[in-house]
Symmetry: C2
Subunit: 551 residues, 2 copies
Amino acid sequence: MQSKSPYESGLDKNPANYVPLSPLGFLERSARIFPDRISLIHGDQHYTWKETYSRCQQLASALTELGVKRNDTVSIIAPNIPPMYEAHFGVPMTGAVLNTINIRLDADTIAFILEHAESKVLIADSEFSDVVGTALSKLNRDITVIDILDDAVQHGSKVGSMDYETFISQAKSDYFPIQHPESEWDAISLNYTSGTTGNPKGVVYHYRGAYLNALSNALNWKMRPHPIYLWTLPMFHCNGWCFPWTIALLGGTNVCLRRVAANTIFDAIAEYKVTHFCGAPVVLNMVVNASESERKSFYHPVEVMTAAAPPPAVVLEKMEQNGFLMTHVYGLTETYGPAVICEWHQEWDEYDSAKQAQLKSRQGVPYLALAGLEIMDPKTMSSIKADGATMGETMFRGNIVMKGYLKNPNATKEAFDGGWFHSGDLGVMYPDHYIQLKDRSKDIIISGGENISSIEIEDTLFRHPAVMEAAVVALADDKWGEVPCAFVSLKPQHSPQPSEADLIQYCKENMARYKAPKKIVFGQLPKTSTGKVQKFRLRERAELIAKNNAS
Amino acid sequence: MQSKSPYESGLDKNPANYVPLSPLGFLERSARIFPDRISLIHGDQHYTWKETYSRCQQLASALTELGVKRNDTVSIIAPNIPPMYEAHFGVPMTGAVLNTINIRLDADTIAFILEHAESKVLIADSEFSDVVGTALSKLNRDITVIDILDDAVQHGSKVGSMDYETFISQAKSDYFPIQHPESEWDAISLNYTSGTTGNPKGVVYHYRGAYLNALSNALNWKMRPHPIYLWTLPMFHCNGWCFPWTIALLGGTNVCLRRVAANTIFDAIAEYKVTHFCGAPVVLNMVVNASESERKSFYHPVEVMTAAAPPPAVVLEKMEQNGFLMTHVYGLTETYGPAVICEWHQEWDEYDSAKQAQLKSRQGVPYLALAGLEIMDPKTMSSIKADGATMGETMFRGNIVMKGYLKNPNATKEAFDGGWFHSGDLGVMYPDHYIQLKDRSKDIIISGGENISSIEIEDTLFRHPAVMEAAVVALADDKWGEVPCAFVSLKPQHSPQPSEADLIQYCKENMARYKAPKKIVFGQLPKTSTGKVQKFRLRERAELIAKNNAS
C-alpha cells in the first residue's frame, strides 16, 4: 500500500484560504477604495461607487423581501441604463440568477423566455411596456413586474406593480449582507441565444467564468485603472461581454446610452472623454459613416473592441483612420462573449494600414482564461493543418465556457461532445497559431467542388466605396452545384451607384475570379434583434431566385 | 420535499468547461503567441519564449526519467539565474512540488529543509557547493544532486552526479506533455520561512493561488504587456512574489542578476531598458546610496515595487527623487508574497513629495485576489475601530493564503484560527480603509503603559541625513517598564557623524517626545539570510545593556 503524500494531509480548504471566485467582490473593493469616484453617468444622473454599491444593496434587499432566493431567476428587459447595470450586482447578491432579455425581441419570444427561465420577477423598462404587456398576457402564471420609469422615455405605460426607484428605496435597509455564492460553479446569469431557427437556448454562466472573463477583459485589452467606458454594446448581450464586472474591477466610469447612434456616441466621447467602448460592426459602421453634423472632434486615445460577423477589414481600417484604436475579439454567447483576441505584435506596427487591418481581421489567439482553442475536424476531433487554408470547426475549452444550456441536456451534450465546445464556426489556423473564421458551417459555398468562403467575398465587396453592407449566400446552380449570391445595400449618398455587373467585375479584379459572386441583389438586409444579418432569410430568397432561373 | 432547481441539473463540470487554474498555461500561451520574443537574459545568454518553453520541457522530461512524479519535492538552491526560472515551470510540469532554498542559509538549516521536505532531487548552483556539500553529508539518505555550472562562477566544485545542462540536454525528448494539476488545490511549491527562532516552517502554495497572485501582480501593478523585469528580488523568496509566472503571463523579458549591487542594477537599467523591478528596502538603500561611479543615467520610466519592514517613508521619497516610480505592497510568505497594496489615488498627485511618501508608506488595501483584510482583536476576532490609531492584528482571508504548513497541523490550525490567517503583524486601519503596520506583535514597546511603535521611531531616525539603517527594540527600564533602544548604522561618508545625544534630540524634535529612544547603540545591524534585521539578536544585546544598567 502506498502511503499518503504529506501534501495530501492537513492542508485542506478552510474559510481563511479558500473563497469562491465571484465578480461581486469587485464592487465591494471599488466602493471601499474609491467611494467617491464616479461609477455611472446617465444624462443628468451621476453616481459614485459608494452610491452604486448602496443602490445594488437596496435592490438585493428589496428582492429578498419579495421572497427571491438562491437559484431563482430574475429577468430584466432594459437598454443600457443604471438599473440594468445595478441588476448585474444586485440580483446575484441575493443568490438569484440574472436573466437579461434582448429589447428587440417580439412578445412571443419574451413570453417563451419568461416561461422557460421560470422567472420570479421581471424588471421592465417602460419603453418596452407594450411588447412586455403582450408577453405577460401570454404567460400562464403570475410574475412580479417592476417598471423602470426613466425620464428620457416619453411614451410607455406601466405594466408592473411598482416602479424601480420606489421598489429599491422602500427596502428596509441599504445594508445588505452579500450572499457570496456557495460554490463558484453556481449560476450567475442566464442568456438566451438569438437562434435563427427554433426556440432560443438558455446559456448558463457561472461565477467562476464571470470572474475570470472580467479579469481577462482587463488584462487582454491592457486596460488601465479608471477607464471611462461607453455602453454601446448592449448589456443584455452576453452580460455586455462581462464588462459590467470589468468596469467595477477597475473602478472605472460607466457612461450609459439609451439610444446608440452616431451623434450620441460622438457626443459622449467628446463630453466625458470616453476611453473605451465595444461594438459590433453595425456600431462601427455608424461611426465611420457618420455625417459631418453628427461628428465631434476628440483629441485623446479611444480604444474600441469589436467582434463577430467578422468585421470587414475595411471597416477596421476606416475606424483607425477616424482615430480609434481597434482591438478585434471573437466569441459566442456560450463563451461569455470575447474568448479569442487578435493579440498585436509590436513588429506589425511597421506594416501599412491595409496590411495591419488584414492582420487585425484575423480572430487570433485564446483569451487569457481560455485554456484551449483549436480548429478541428469535428468527425475525428483532431486538429487540422495550421496552414491558413485547411478549414475545420473552431473548438473551445476552458473556464470561460458556459455551464450548459438550461433544461436542455441533449443540446448541452452535443455542444460538449468530445470534451470541447463546438462553436459551429468554420475557420483556419495559421502557422503562427492565429485563427481566422471563414464561415458558419452552413454559410460555406461549395462551387464546382471548391469551398468558397462567403466572408471573403463580403470582405471584398466592403472595400468598394459605394457598398454599405453585404452578405453572401449559396445559390443553387445546375452547372456548379452552388454559386455565390451577394445581397448588397449601397450608400445612398455615393455617386455613381454601381450596377450588378460593376460589382461582379470589382470582385473579379480583387479576389480569385472563380470566387466572385454570380448574382448581386440590391436592397436592405434583414437583421436579427442583435443586428446580425439573417442569412436564413437571404437563403430563402436565393431559393426563389434559383426556382425562377430554373423555370 | 423541495424539487431540485433547474440550475442544479445537467450543468456539470466537464473537460470543455472546467480546467484547473494553473500558471503553467502562461508559459504555453507566451511560447505559442510570442515564440521569438526574448524571455530571459543572463549575461551573454539570451533565450526566446519558444526556447524557454523547450528548456522547461526538457527539464520536466529529464526529471520524469529520474522517477520524479506527482507530489514529490524537487529542491533548488541558486540565485536568480536561468535554471532557477526554468524550475518554476519545469518542476510543476512533472506534477512535483518546487522547493526553493535561500542561498544564505547555513548547512544545518539546508539539511533540515531537505530532510523535512523529503526532497527527491536537489539542483544546486556551484557557488554554494561548499555549504551544500556539508548539508548533504548530514542527511541520512541519498538524494540526486544536479550541479549548475555557471560560467560566471569562478570557484565552487561539483557535488552532484551531473551538471544541469547535460541533465536537461540528455532528456529523451524536448516535447513533454505538461502534467496539468489534477486539482488546482494541488501543491505547486514549498517555501520555508526564515524564522528567527525554532525550525523553519514549510509554507505550501497551491496552483490556484499561484495563478491568481500572478494575475493580481499584473493588474494591481498596472503592468503592460512585455515588461523588462529585473530580478533583484530573490526567486527563492516566496517564489519571487509569483513574478516568474507574471512575467510569463505578460510575455515579458526576465533580466537575471547573479549579484545584486548598486552598479549591476544601474547597468541593467541602462543597458536593457528595465521597466520594472521589486526589492526589499535593503535593495532600495543600495540604489539611493549609490556612489556617482556606480550610477548610470536612464531616461525611461522605471516602476519599483517594494515591501516589508516596512520601508521608511524617506527611502520611498528618495527613490522617487532618483526617478523611480514607487509602489508599496505588503505580504508574508504565507500570502504568496504581496497581498496588500497601497493603491494610489489620482488626487494625491497634488500633495508635496513628503506627504506623498507618507501616504505611500501605508500598506493599503487588499490585492485583487485577496477577499478579506482586517485589523482585529485576536482575542475577540472583531475588527478594531478604523481610526488610524487603535492597534490590532492584521488578518488575511482569501485565495492567496497558503494551504498550510507542511507536516505541521498544529501551526496550521493556529495560523487559521477563527477562519482568518493571523499574520502576527500589528497595525491600524484608517477611516479610508487603508491599513498601516505598526509592528510585529513582539516588537511593540510598552513604556509607562503607552504602546510605542518601534517602526515609527525607525522611520524618524531614517529621516536623519547621516543614518543608514536603524532598528528599535525594547529595553527593560525600572521606571517605565520598557523604553525604546535604537541600534543605528551611520553613513560612513557623512560628516559630521552625529552623537547619541544628537539623534535622541533629533527624535524628540520630530515625533512625540515620550516616544524618543532613551539609548542609541552604533554599529552594523545583524541580518537574516533574507536581509531582514534580526531583532531577536538586538533584544539579546538590549538585555545585556539592561543587566549592566542594573548592576
